[in-house]
């Protein structure tokens, strides 16, 4: 039993290690801290591709977290910080794609297809009904 408990503890510690990627940072307000947390979760690490800034331990992610921290404390708005990152690392750093002509299909393509499908469905149903009416 003791051994089992020890093993469980070991596993628990192992899993919690990965959440220690972030440094201790001082914020002037609770709001700034919340903004920081949501920004580093929204922004993608440009080096590691499949991690956000919050989770990554790579050198550039550490630097960018520090930059986000500084910019928040300097009173920059979220939008300004996001624009700053996009200007340097491209829209790649955004986990949520921006609305633009390039992403129009991405955002609205499924709805357009759904509309086309609905129209086709209605057209087929109407045509079938007409034909049946004629046959009768």
């Amino acid at each position: 039993m003791m051994l089992f408990r020890g093993f469980f503890l070991f596993i628990a510690v192992l899993f919690s290690l990965s959440t220690f990627a972030q440094e201790q940072m001082a914020f002037s307000s609770e709001l700034n801290k919340t903004r920081y947390q949501s920004l580093v979760e929204e922004l993608r690490c440009p080096k590691c591709q499949n991690q956000n800034l919050a989770d990554s331990g790579s050198g550039i992610a550490v630097d960018l977290r520090e930059l986000v921290h500084q910019m928040i404390e300097q009173g920059k708005t979220d939008q300004e910080i996001v624009d700053y990152m996009v200007a340097r690392y491209g829209s790649f750093v955004l986990y949520r794609p921006q609305h633009s002509t390039a992403t129009f299909l991405l955002w609205y393509g499924p709805f357009i297809l759904l509309g086309v499908g609905l129209l086709a469905f209605v057209a087929v149903v109407v045509a079938n009904r007409k034909r049946r009416g004629r046959d009768l």
Binding site: R88, Y89, G90
Partner: protein, 169 residues
Amino acid sequence: MRKLLFFMPLAVFLVLGVVFYLQLGKDAQYMPSALVGKKVPEFTLVSLQDDQAYTHKDLPNTPYLINFWGTWCPACHVEHPFLMELANSGVPIIGIDYKDQKDLAVQWLEQKGNPYQAILMDEIGNFGVDMGVTGAPETFVVDRSGVVVYRHQGVINAENWPEIKGYMK
């Protein structure tokens, strides 16, 4: 006409198949640089050699390379001999000593040789962020008019140099 409509799904499938097939084998790690097509960002950095401050106005007005390196970066060791070759064949390279210690960098250049026309120190890495750098080595090609035309992440070698060289005009 109606018959043709039944083949629509097949047509869509074929088009998608071709599109996806063409994407296969592409380097998934490749990231386009947001800087391509733009001027080199403004900076003021201190030179490693003479401790003077230099700005973007001091950059060459011929095509040249900007190479980010650091003594902490293993791949930069691999890249260094090829940069020496390039320098010897007359390619102007501006070195950015990225997030490094000055004494280590000086030592490195004394031991291995200096391929750079000028070396500027970016100790905190702020210029690196302005250039959209994610690590080292990373190399930018800047053309005659001071516009960044190409970015290469990783080591430059004899294999990829011909492609990079093509941008130098």
